[in-house]
Every structure is written in C-alpha cells, then in structure tokens.
C-alpha cells in the first residue's frame, strides 16, 4: 500500500516535469534554432550563426544579397514601429479610462453600478473575432478609413477591461483606514486622493498598463480586421509571413519578441510582488 502510494506521488512529480517540458521545450527549440546557419531549412542544423539577428537590425550579410530580404527587413522595421506607436497610445488611453472606471465603481455608490461591473467584463469575454468584425462593419459604415487610428480605438475597447480588472483587484485589497485618517486630520479630498489613495493604487495602475501594453503588442485578430491594407503591426507581419512562406530570420524575430514579452511580464510580476 505504502509502496503504491509512493509510486503514485513519484509519477505525479514526473508528470509535472513533463508538463513544464511541454510548455517550454518548444520555446527553447526556437531560441536554439534562431542561431542555425542553414538558409533553406530552418530546422536542419548546419552550424552556428548570428546572421539572422544582424539581418533584422539592417546589416547586410553574404546571404542577404537578394533584394527580397532587404525589402522584408524594411517591412519588419515599419511593423515594429507601428506596433510600438499603437501599444503606447492604447496603453495611455486604456489606463486612464480603465482606472477612472475602477475608481468610480469601487469608491462611489450609484445607480447602475452592477451594470458597469458586468459591462466592463463583456469585451474581455467576447470572442475576439466577433469584436473584430463588429468594429470593421462600424468603421466602414461610419466612413472612418482603416489605419493606425482605427487600430488604437479598436484595441482600447477591450484593453479598458483588462486595466479595470487589475486596478479593481488592487482597490479591493486596499486598506481604507489611511484615507479615513487623512480626512480626520483635516486634509481635503483632493489632497487625500493625491497623497494617500493614488500612491496606494499605483502598483495596480502600473500593472494594468503593462498588461495592456503586452496585449496590445500581441493582438492579432482584432487588429487584423481593422488595420486596412496598408498598415501592419508586428503580429500581422508574422501572420502574413506564415501564410506566404517562412524565411529564416523569422526565428530571430520570434526569439526577440519572446524575450521582450518575457522581460515585461517578469517586470510586472516582480513589481506586483514587491509592492504588496
């Protein structure tokens, strides 16, 4: 009996290792093969190179003489720039609106409060393709031409929800005695808000903003429908590349994107833990 029990828990431990291997081995694989020199088949190892990294930063290689490669590098850099512009703008708008909504719902009592709480969950739970095509029909119907502007508006509709939820979680766990003390000691509402409430909410706001930034950089489906024909964000560039045919530098781009999002996520989780 005891032996069977031990065997059982040992197999569970082994299982957890397999579980993590399933999640992380593919990621390790792409990182390793981004240094593969083979220009034809990216998965047949034929030596170590950093050429693909040089290429995405615009350096010419022996293998990049073909004009095709240079052109796709330009498109890539343009896509990165668009993604950063979009992510910065959406993060700013969504953070302000989402934080305001969370403060209103958690600090005031008013008619329709429950409605707002549910409403702010809806865009997050809605399948992204539904939101994407609804926005497409709307923008075309109203006559707004598709481009960076529509991407920013479209992404904000659901990023507000993410910021709202992160800030709400912070507000829900907050100690209100400090605010009461501040009011008792004669501070006016604005001073209390600025000196007591805001610093306490800040980790939630920063966390929400980081989350919004990452999700915006990564959004594919909604952006795909409302970006129009001439604007490309990074995920759409890669999606297009997967459909047209893969070139070896994609491995390097993919690796850098993974590192970038892991760095931001790790920063967010670290801040979240430290401030608590």
């Amino acid at each position: 009996m005891n032996f069977v029990h031990k065997l059982g828990s040992l197999s569970l431990i082994v299982y957890v290792f397999i579980f993590f291997a399933f999640i992380y081995l593919p990621i390790a694989l792409i990182v390793i093969y981004s240094f593969n020199a083979d220009p034809v088949n990216m998965m047949r190892w034929s030596g170590f190179t950093i050429d693909w990294y040089r290429q995405i930063f615009g350096f010419r290689n022996a293998s990049s003489e073909a004009a095709l490669y240079i052109e796709s590098t330009d498109q890539l850099l343009a896509a990165v720039r668009t993604s950063l512009i979009v992510a910065a703008s959406t993060t700013a708008v969504a953070t302000v609106l989402g934080t305001a909504a969370a403060l209103a719902v958690f600090r005031y009592s008013f008619f329709g409060k429950r409605f707002y709480r549910v409403l702010l969950f809806v865009p997050m739970l809605m399948p992204d393709i539904v939101l994407g095509i609804a926005l497409l029909i709307f923008f075309v119907g109203v006559g707004i031409s598709l481009g960076v502007g529509t991407i920013i508006i479209g992404q904000c509709t659901f990023l507000i929800s993410y910021v709202f939820i992160v800030v709400s979680a912070r507000l829900a766990g907050m100690d209100r005695t400090l605010e009461n003390a501040s009011a008792d000691l004669g501070a006016d509402e604005w001073t209390t808000f600025r000196k007591i409430t805001l610093p306490q909410v800040m980790p939630g706001v920063v966390g929400g903003a980081l989350l919004a930034f990452i999700i915006s950089m990564d959004d594919l489906v909604i952006t795909y429908f409302i970006s129009g024909t001439s604007t490309q964000t990074l995920p759409i560039f890669i999606f297009g590349m997967l459909r047209r045919g893969i070139k070896p530098e994609v491995n390097a781009i993919a690796t850098m994107m993974l590192l970038f999002s892991f760095a931001i996520a790790a920063l967010g989780l670290y801040l979240n833990r430290r401030k608590r």
């Binding site: 593919p26 998965m43 403060l103 209103a104 865009p123 095509i133 994107m257 999002s261 989780l269």
Partner: protein, 302 residues
C-alpha cells in the same frame, strides 16, 4: 460641509470618472455590436455591400432554411459549425486532463516552489500568440523538427503528415490555452479541504470513490470555469486553424473571415458572428446562474 453640496460634488466627480469611459464604450463597443446585429438581418448586395431590407436567410443558410430564390440548403455550413463545436470541446477535455493532475501536484509543493511554478505557467500567456503557434509550424511541418528527427533515427522513411490536420489544430489550441485552464482549476484545488478527503478514506472509501465523490465535486467550480474560459476562444478561433489547419479543418472563425475578406458577403459573416456570440452568452448565463445558486446552497457533497 453641508449635505447637498457634498452630494453635488460627488456627482460631479463621478461624472468626471465615468463620463469618458461610458461615452467611449457606448460609441465604440455598443455601436459596432448594434450595427453587426442589424447587418445580420440584411440582404447581401450583389457586389459586396448590403441591401436595406429584412432578410432572415443569413441565419437560414446555416440552420436549414436557405433563400429559395438563390440556392438550396447546403449543409456545409452546419458541418463547419458542428466541427468547430467538436474541436473546441476536444480542446477543453484535453487541457483539463493535462492541467488537473499538474494542478494537484503543484498545490502540494512548498510555498516558494509553488509560486515559482505558477510564475512559469503564467509566463507563456504573455508571450506572443503568433510566435507560439509559429513554433509548432516549425515542429510539425514536412521538413520540421519531428519529421527530421524521425527520419534521422530511421523510424520513418517518408515524412508524416502532421501539419494541416485536425490533430495539429487541437494541439496548437491546447498549447496556447493551457494557462487559461490551469489557473481556475488550480484555484479550486488549492482551496480543497483535505480533511474531507482523509475522512472519506478513513470511512473506507477506495481512492477512486474518494476522487469521484469528494475531490472532483469539490473542485468542480474550477473545472467548469476553466472549461468555459477555454471553450469560448476555441470556438470562434481563426488564427490556429489558419496557421496549423488545412482545408479540411475549416472552422467558424475562418468562415467568418472569408465572408469579410474574400467572399464579401458581410451580412452572412455578421450572422455567423452573432451565432458564435449567442453561444458564448448562453454559456456565460448558465455559468453565472450556476454560480449564484451554488452560493445560496451549502457546499454540496453527494
């Protein structure tokens, strides 16, 4: 500090906080959804665009009453719908089977290891979705990692057909949705009262009986929550089938995309999207009702 002026000030603050977000969501969320609903009941124009007349046959094309003037009912749309439901359900079951034992083991680790394990599981959620799918293209394609390895080892002579199959689509979805299932299940498992499990064993229940009648019912809220959270994005998914699937694995999401970007039958696409959204709303409604009822009752162990 007189009463009325204080109330007036609060109202003003509230308007300042809620006004912009309400206006934004009304225009850019409410507006699009309303227009989509209207479009789904309009007739498609001859060269793209719409005719402003009531036309229920967009839904009919899917559910079995096609416009008799133009076409016979073609069950292909119904088949795509059923396939999408089947694939989404399979993804739910597999992610559950993968995550449940892992959640159990991780909940029994020491505090420090536990939070590290949770960190490792949440991390991929932040990594680019398209990059994580792209990895599987490299692994599964004809000259990909698996086929090259198998051929080098001499296990197979001809490369296997791994990519562009339903299996590849399911694998891709399982891979990206694991964190969605794991976290709710883990939250339930973590709260599990082990004294009840021990009581069941002391009273002579076998391991299997204890699992079926104590452990599983107690973790059911997490299982249901995780299942819904995985089912919703799987059902209308179009990226995974577009990247890892082929013509035989067309799902609702791909069909919707085609209506908008290739076939230019927007009303039909809107009707398909409405169908996806109704299913999602129905599921959420059932879930919320279930949860509120649970809250009223004492925790039930059968």
């Amino acid at each position: 500090m007189s009463g009325p002026s204080r109330r007036g000030r609060e109202r003003a603050q509230l308007g300042f906080l809620l006004g912009p977000v309400s206006a934004f969501l009304t225009i850019f969320l409410g507006g699009p959804l309303a227009i989509m609903l209207i479009y789904s009941f309009l007739a498609p124009g001859l060269y793209g665009g719409v005719e402003w007349q009531f036309y229920p046959h967009n839904f009919g094309r899917i559910l079995g009453f096609a416009d008799p003037e133009f076409e016979d009912f073609d069950p292909v749309y119904l088949a795509i719908f059923l396939r999408s439901v089947r694939i989404a359900a399979t993804v739910v079951i597999i992610t559950l089977l993968v995550c449940y034992p892992a959640a159990f083991q991780i909940s029994r680790l020491s505090e420090k290891r536990k939070s590290f394990a949770l960190f490792l599981i949440t991390l991929p959620f932040f990594a680019s979705l398209i990059v994580r799918l792209f990895i599987w293209v490299l692994i599964l394609k004809k000259t990909g990692f698996v086929n090259l390895t198998l051929q080098t080892l001499g296990i197979v002579d001809e490369p296997l057909e791994l990519i562009y199959t339903e299996g590849a689509v399911i694998l891709g979805m399982v891979y990206i949705f694991i964190p969605f299932m794991f976290l709710p299940v883990y939250a339930s498992v973590e709260k599990l009262d082990w004294t009840l499990v021990r009581a069941s064993q002391d009273l002579g229940a076998s391991g299997f009986q204890t699992f079926c009648r104590v452990i599983f019912p107690l973790t059911l809220p997490g299982v249901i929550g995780g299942s819904i959270i995985v089912f919703i994005p799987s059902l209308g998914n179009f990226v995974v089938p577009a990247v890892l699937g082929g013509a035989k694995t067309l799902m609702l999401g791909n069909l919707i995309e085609q209506q908008f970007l290739a076939a230019r039958n927007w009303p039909f696409g809107a009707a398909l999207a409405m169908l996806v959204m109704s299913i999602v709303l129905l599921l959420l409604f059932i879930y919320v009702r279930h949860e509120t009822r649970r809250g009223d009752d004492a925790p039930g162990i059968r």
